[in-house]
Every structure is written in structure tokens, then in C-alpha cells.
């Protein structure tokens, strides 16, 4: 173990010779911290793009056919007179999902924090393959730009949904989109290479570069979560890439893999897409679970409750992720016997999810809870993830899925998991590690205002979507008022839209706080949260090479309030105190 970690002298040498040019230091950098921060800026940008697309959609859903304020800039091909066309609505639906999943949430969780945290938390000077790491980021950027540029090509961007079901996605005559649909495939193929380069790096780094004493069961939970996630990425992304290549061939050179002519099968796309897609769902939540575990323990000043159970539950979720993909296809015409099987395997996921939830509650029990901004967001994660998990039970039970499938109930469910879960986890993580990344604290008051408003408007936006789904409102519907059974719930659509705009506006507080703190925030100390993990032993921000001497790990990461320490935390690298030897037991007690 840790034989690859640099010897002390070599590392100190690296520290003192940081004479890289600006370009090598900040643009084409091989430093895992800079790469993590580059991913942070990239994915926050796409998070904003995705949010804007969502709000544009909500305008149409709240007030179908009314001109969008300022919508004239979209041009006649998208919104003549400011009123959006159905084809533009479909493009919004597709690109909102695509940007949020592939270019915002996934890189925020993995690109940012796997890069930033893994070496720091395991006590390594950098990633195992720093140049590969740099290549990973600089492959993701053109993929994102290509996706963004697809709005500008003739026919607009892809419009077959983020799931791009064939034949709609395969035949331009069906979707009305030609180039956009191809750019969608190419962009995601390129992004896939970025993810794979990242994944092999994370896996290798965790296995080979842990500091002396950092045994597997002393790893901080974010590292466990990111390690498991990296394995999922390594195994799942090639399946998506394969499917995308086949789809691209169907689009361009006349193959019929997913077309019924010549023996092709539309359902084959769904099987391939969801065989990737369900592990992807866990790629999008496991890292957040790791961050939240870390922050809950820190905020509660307690060891994480049931560390082995937490690790076991994550492994179980990752494993189950491979055998549940069919639950996205209950209504697809797949053999109903398969549906019966996939229902059972899906319901079983409730078990590890419940284990995690109860252990988080156990962590809070008997704690001495500090409500710093990261903690508030972590607590929101727990309470919202519960809703997202429980609403999953409805759609996992196949008979109840019959009316709910492909309705707003599903939209509500995934947003409770991806926004209520992942994004609150991301807010927690950004606010928690910001001082380490940039050497300055974020503003607590602004952070709290942002948190409370986001929490309120998030629930007001997404909870009513459950009800819209129960009322039978289909997903990806340009104009719900077309349907008689949806006319009575139209006021609810307006209500959701208003709150979606408020939710969007609230994020400006975060943007302001982030940018302001970057330059004007209070200088951060080395360990502002009084945490135990190794990154807090390095300076804020850590220099190139991270640690002046390779840290030695003596204990697990969550020894908060240990009786062995006079303060309520006990860093992993602090040598054990010489304790006075216990009193001789020969003397009779009570004398």
C-alpha cells in the first residue's frame, strides 16, 4: 500500500520549484486542484444554462402561447413573435436534461470533487496520471461547446428528449432535426472519453496513492463514494458510447440498428440506453451521499453512524444499479414477466437507501449540531432525498406505474433526487470546500439566505409536479391545455412556473456570494470547520504538491468528540497522545 506516494524530499522539492508559466499553471494545468476548479467553473456555467432553459420551458407551460418577454431575440425559427414553437419546446426539453445531467450535475459531482478531493483526502500529492487528468478536462470543454453550438445550426438542437428514443432520434424526417441530433451524439461520445479518462485516474489513485496508514476503512466517505462512482462510470459509459455510435450510424450512413426495417429494434436503444442510464442515476447521487456524510458528521461533531454499513450500502446501491434498468421500460412493450422481475429488483434498492437515511439520522442523534451553511444544505439533502426515494416506490410498483409512467410524477421524482438530493449535496460541498479551494470563506449570511429561499422555492416548484402527474399530465408536453383532463390543473402549472422563476432568481444570490467571496471573502484558516480529514492539514489553498510532508494516518476520518482529544475533533494525521498509563489495578477499588 501507498508505495507510490512520493518520498518526502521529492515532494518538498516539487513544492519549492513552482515556476510554471501562467498557461501551465491555470489553463493547461496538470494540478488536480486546478483541474477540479476548472471543472467547477465549467459545470456551474452549464448549470446556469440548464436552469435558463428550464425557466423558458416553464413560461410556455404556465402561459401556453403567450409571447416570452424578450423572446424576440430567439428569432423566427424558434419563437416567431416571441411565442415559442413546439419544435423549440422539444429542443428545450432535450437540452435542459442533457446539460443538467451530463454537463452540470455529473461534472460537478465527479469532475470537480473527485479531482479536487481524492488526492487531498487520501494524502497524495496529485492524481496517478496528471496529464490524463488535464486531457479529461480539455476533452469535456469541446464536448460542451459542441452541444451549445447545436442551438445555432439549421433545424436547431436535438429534440428527441435527453433519452433520445429511436426511431425519433434516428430519422431526421421524424424529428425535424438533422444536424442537431447528430451533434448531440458526437458531443456525448466525446464527453464519454473525458469521463473514462477521469474514471481510470480516480480508481488508480485511490488504490495506489493512499498515504501511509490510510487503510480502506479509514477512507473518508466522499472517497469511497467517488471510488465506487468511478467504477460505475468506467463500466457504464462505454455502453452509452456504443449505443451512441450505433445511433450515429443510423442517422448518417443508413444502418438500421434501431429501426424496424431490416430487422432492427427500437427497444434495443432503450435497453442499451438504460443499461447505462440506471448506473448513471447512481453516478449522480452516490458522490453527493459521500459529501453529505462527511458534512453531517462535521456539523453534528460526531463520528458517522455505522461507517461499515454506509460503505456497504453504497456498494449495494452500485451493484443493484446494474440489474434494474428495465424499470424505465415497464410500458415499453417488453415482456411483462421481465417487468415483474425488474419491479422486485428495483424495490430492493429501498433497503440500502433506507440504511443510509437511518444512519444519517443516527449521526445526528446525540450530536452537538452546528448549523453552518454546508450543514444546512446537507440536512436539506437528507430530508429531500427521503421524498425522492419514497416517490420512487410508487413508480417501482408496476401497477401504479401504469398511470404514472411518463407523467409529471416522474419529473417530480427525478427532481427530488437530482435537485433535492444531488444539487443540495453540491451546494453543501461547494460551501464546505470553498475555503480550501480558494483560501477564502463564503459569506455565511448570504449563504443562509440562499439556502432557505432555495429550499422553499424548490419545494413549491417540484412538489406540485407530483400532483400534476397524478392528474395525468404527460412529460414533455408543449401545451397541457390541449387536453380536457388537464385544463382544471392549469392554475397549478402557473403556480409551478412562478416558483420556478423565483427559484432561478434565488440562484443569483449564490452566484454573487461565490464571485464576491472569491475576491473579498474573509481569509480562511487551514482548518475552518475543525474537521479531521487530511485536506484540512494542507494550507488553504494547498500548494502544488499539496502536503509539505506526506501525512501519516493514525485513525478513521470521523473521530469527532473523541474522549482521546481535548477538543471535539481529532485529525486523522495527529499522532496519538501519550496517555498516562492506567492506574495500577492491584489497589482495591473504593479504598
Amino acid at each position: 500500500m501507498s508505495t507510490i506516494a512520493l518520498p518526502h524530499e521529492a515532494q518538498a522539492h516539487a513544492l519549492h520549484h513552482d515556476d510554471r508559466s501562467f498557461v501551465r499553471k491555470y489553463i493547461f494545468s496538470t494540478d488536480h486542484k486546478i483541474i477540479g476548479i476548472q471543472f467547477l467553473f465549467m459545470s456551474l456555467f452549464f448549470l446556469l444554462v440548464g436552469g435558463l432553459l428550464a425557466m423558458t420551458m416553464r413560461w410556455q407551460l404556465g402561459w401556453p402561447g403567450r409571447p416570452i418577454p424578450g423572446g424576440a431575440i430567439l428569432g423566427d425559427a424558434k419563437a416567431p413573435g416571441g411565442v415559442m414553437l413546439p419544435e423549440f419546446y422539444n429542443a428545450l426539453v432535450t437540452m435542459h436534461g442533457t446539460f443538467m445531467i451530463f454537463f452540470a450535475i455529473m461534472p460537478l459531482l465527479v469532475g470537480v470533487f473527485a479531482n479536487y478531493l481524492i488526492p487531498l483526502q487520501i494524502g497524495a500529492p496529485d492524481m496517478a496520471f496528471p496529464r490524463l487528468n488535464m486531457a479529461s478536462f480539455w476533452t469535456a470543454v469541446p464536448a460542451g461547446l459542441m452541444m451549445l453550438a447545436s442551438f445555432l445550426v439549421a433545424g436547431g438542437s436535438a429534440g428527441a428528449g435527453w433519452t433520445s428514443y429511436a426511431p425519433l432520434s434516428a430519422v431526421p424526417e421524424y424529428s425535424g432535426v438533422h444536424t442537431g441530433q447528430q451533434l448531440w451524439c458526437l458531443s456525448l461520445i466525446i464527453l464519454g472519453f473525458s469521463s473514462l479518462m477521469g474514471a481510470v485516474n480516480y480508481i488508480t489513485t485511490v488504490i495506489n496513492m493512499r498515504a501511509p496508514g490510510m487503510t480502506w476503512f479509514r477512507l473518508p466517505l466522499p472517497v469511497w463514494a467517488l471510488f465506487i462512482t468511478a467504477i460505475l462510470i468506467l463500466l457504464a459509459i462505454p455502453i452509452l458510447t456504443g449505443a451512441l455510435i450505433l445511433l450515429y450510424f443510423d442517422q448518417t450512413i443508413g444502418t438500421t440498428f434501431f429501426l424496424p426495417a431490416n430487422g432492427g429494434q427500437p427497444l434495443l436503444w432503450q435497453h442499451m440506453f438504460w443499461f447505462f442510464g440506471h448506473p448513471e442515476v447512481y453516478i449522480l447521487i452516490l458522490p453527493a451521499m459521500g459529501f453529505v456524510s462527511e458534512i453531517l458528521a462535521n456539523g453534528a461533531r460526531k463520528p458517522i453512524f455505522g461507517y461499515p454499513a454506509m460503505v456497504g450500502a453504497m456498494i449495494a446501491i452500485a451493484f443493484l444499479g446494474w440489474i434494474v434498468w428495465g424499470h424505465h421500460m415497464f410500458m415499453s412493450g417488453m415482456n411483462p414477466v421481465l417487468g415483474g422481475y425488474f419491479m422486485v429488483s428495483t424495490l430492493v434498492i429501498a433497503v440500502p437507501s433506507a440504511i443510509k437515511t437511518f444512519n444519517w439520522l443516527g449521526t445526528l442523534w446525540g450530536g452537538s449540531i452546528r448549523f453552518h451553511v454546508p450543514m444546512l444544505n446537507a440536512l436539506a439533502f437528507v430530508s429531500m432525498f427521503v421524498i425522492g426515494g419514497l416517490s420512487g416506490m410508487f413508480v417501482a410498483a408496476t401497477p401504479v406505474d401504469i398511470p404514472l409512467h411518463d407523467t409529471y410524477f416522474v419529473v417530480a421524482h427525478i427532481h427530488y433526487v437530482l435537485f433535492g438530493g444531488s444539487l443540495f449535496g453540491i451546494f453543501a460541498a461547494i460551501t464546505y470546500w470553498f475555503p480550501k479551494m480558494f483560501g477564502r470563506m463564503m459569506n455565511e449570511t448570504l449563504g443562509k439566505i440562499h439556502f432557505f429561499l432555495t429550499f422553499i422555492f424548490f419545494n413549491l416548484t417540484f412538489f406540485p409536479m407530483h400532483l400534476l402527474g397524478i392528474a395525468g399530465m404527460m412529460r414533455r408536453l408543449y401545451d397541457p391545455t390541449q387536453y380536457p383532463h388537464l385544463q382544471p390543473v392549469q392554475p397549478m402549472n402557473e403556480f409551478v412556473s412562478v416558483n420556478a422563476f423565483l427559484l432561478g432568481a434565488t440562484q443569483l444570490i449564490f452566484v454573487f456570494n461565490f464571485l464576491w467571496s472569491l475576491f473579498k471573502g474573509r481569509k480562511a484558516e487551514t482548518n475552518p470547520w475543525h474537521a479531521n480529514t487530511l485536506e484540512w492539514a494542507a494550507p488553504s489553498p494547498p500548494p502544488h504538491g499539496n502536503f509539505e510532508v506526506t501525512p501519516i494516518v493514525y485513525r478513521g476520518p470521523y473521530e469527532y468528540s473523541s474522549p482521546d482529544s481535548p477538543v471535539d475533533y481529532l485529525p486523522q494525521d495527529r499522532p496519538p497522545l501519550e496517555r498516562p498509563s492506567p492506574a495500577p489495578t492491584l489497589a482495591p477499588a473504593g479504598n
Binding site: L168, K302, I355, G367, S368, D406
Partner: protein, 230 residues
């Protein structure tokens, strides 16, 4: 909407009430778990907030608790899986569909539903077959068997008031069934994004009494034969 907090559409199929009752069972179970977890969360947040001079309990977990909540969750999902199976097969497994009743062919294409009726002789491919566009006329109290096809892309045959949904996939013939319990006019919608006209791929389900339906079929067949003679 009378009950905005539970806006379930009217329920007019034979299996609809069973689906709704399972929905409410799950709502109760998840509702109880939800309240339990959130109340505990808020209680802990308040009770264990940081206060001067108190230190957190130093505990790494409790194996017995882990076993209890793992088993309890497992029992609940096991029960749910068990309770769901028979209903799922009753709605979706062709071998368990009820016998007899009306047979229809439904073909979806961008952006309309074509319903083919076998006519008076009850057989497809004969001269008295007739077709309706975006209109599904059926009798009450009789099983309706549908063979779903799609011509271009995937569509999804969605009858919210009958609690029925089934994708129509090009290259496949997918059987589905339902039985109406009430006469009236209901919604047929498309639930799978199928292109720019997806939002208006809408039809009507018209449920009539069995006598009215027979008369209607006769009428339609006559129209069809008259058309053919002309």
C-alpha cells in the same frame, strides 16, 4: 379541480380501482415513513443543537439497529412486491387477459391514432372493416382488446381515466386490454415524446351502452358499404 391535493382523474375501468387502491396503500406506507423520518430529523435538529458545555456522544453506531432497520425495510418492500405482482399480470400479461369482447386495431402515427373496427362480422380483413381517426368508440361492460402498432416512431397509448398506458413501438404488435365501467367521453393521449406534434396527438374515448354501440357499429358499417358501392 375539486380536490387539488389529490387530483386523480375519474376512474372508469375494471382494474382502475385496484390500481388506485394500491396507489393509496403505497401512499400510506410511504406517508408514515416520511412523517417518521422528517419528524425525527427535525426533533434531533432541535434537541441536539450545539449548546455551551455539552459534548456530542461518542458513538460509532449500533449493529442491532442496523439489523432492525434493514430487516424492516426489506419486509416492507417484500410486501409491496408481493401485493403488486397479481395486479400487474392481470393488466399486462396476455395469457391472463379475459376472453371474448371487442377486438380493435390501434395504429399510432405522427400525430394521430387510427382505430380499425372489425365491423359486424367481428373479423379483420373483411369488407365491412371501418376506421376511425382519433376516436375510440367502445361499449361499456365488455373487455376491449387492442393490438397496438406504430408506423413511424414510438408513441404511448394513454387513457388516464382507465388507468391504462402502453407504448406503441414500430415493428411490434403489442396487446393491451381494458373494460369500461361507465359511459361517457374520456381522454386518449400520447405519453411518449413523438415529435413536434406530440402535444396535440389527442383522441377521444366514447363509451356507449352495449345496445347503442351495436347500433353505432351497424351505422358505421352501412356508411362504409355505401362508400364502397359508390
Amino acid at each position: 379541480m375539486e380536490r387539488w391535493w389529490m387530483p386523480l382523474p375519474e376512474d372508469v375501468s375494471t382494474f382502475g380501482p385496484r390500481i388506485d387502491s394500491l396507489f393509496f396503500t403505497i401512499l400510506w406506507i410511504t406517508g408514515i415513513v416520511f412523517v417518521l423520518v422528517e419528524v425525527l430529523l427535525v426533533y434531533y435538529i432541535v434537541k441536539y443543537r450545539a449548546r455551551e458545555g455539552r459534548r456530542a456522544i461518542f458513538s460509532h453506531g449500533n449493529t442491532r439497529l442496523e439489523i432492525i432497520w434493514t430487516t424492516a425495510t426489506f419486509a416492507i418492500v417484500f410486501f409491496l412486491g408481493l401485493a403488486s405482482q397479481p395486479l400487474w399480470y392481470a393488466v399486462k400479461e396476455p395469457a391472463r387477459f379475459p376472453r371474448g369482447g371487442l377486438e380493435l386495431n390501434v395504429t399510432a402515427k405522427q400525430f394521430e391514432w387510427h382505430v380499425t373496427y372489425p365491423g359486424l362480422d367481428g373479423r379483420f380483413g373483411t369488407a365491412d372493416d371501418f376506421e376511425k381517426r382519433n376516436e375510440l368508440d367502445i361499449p361499456v361492460g365488455v373487455p376491449v382488446h387492442i393490438t397496438l402498432r406504430a408506423e413511424d416512431v414510438i408513441h404511448s397509448f394513454f387513457l388516464p381515466q382507465f388507468r391504462l398506458k402502453q407504448d406503441a413501438v414500430p415493428g411490434m404488435e403489442i396487446p393491451a386490454w381494458f373494460q369500461a365501467t361507465k359511459t361517457g367521453e374520456f381522454v386518449l393521449g400520447c405519453a411518449e415524446l413523438c415529435g413536434l406534434g406530440h402535444y396535440r396527438m389527442r383522441g377521444r374515448v366514447i363509451v356507449q351502452s352495449q345496445e347503442d354501440f351495436q347500433r353505432w357499429v351497424q351505422q358505421q358499417t352501412q356508411v362504409r358499404t355505401a362508400d364502397a358501392a359508390r
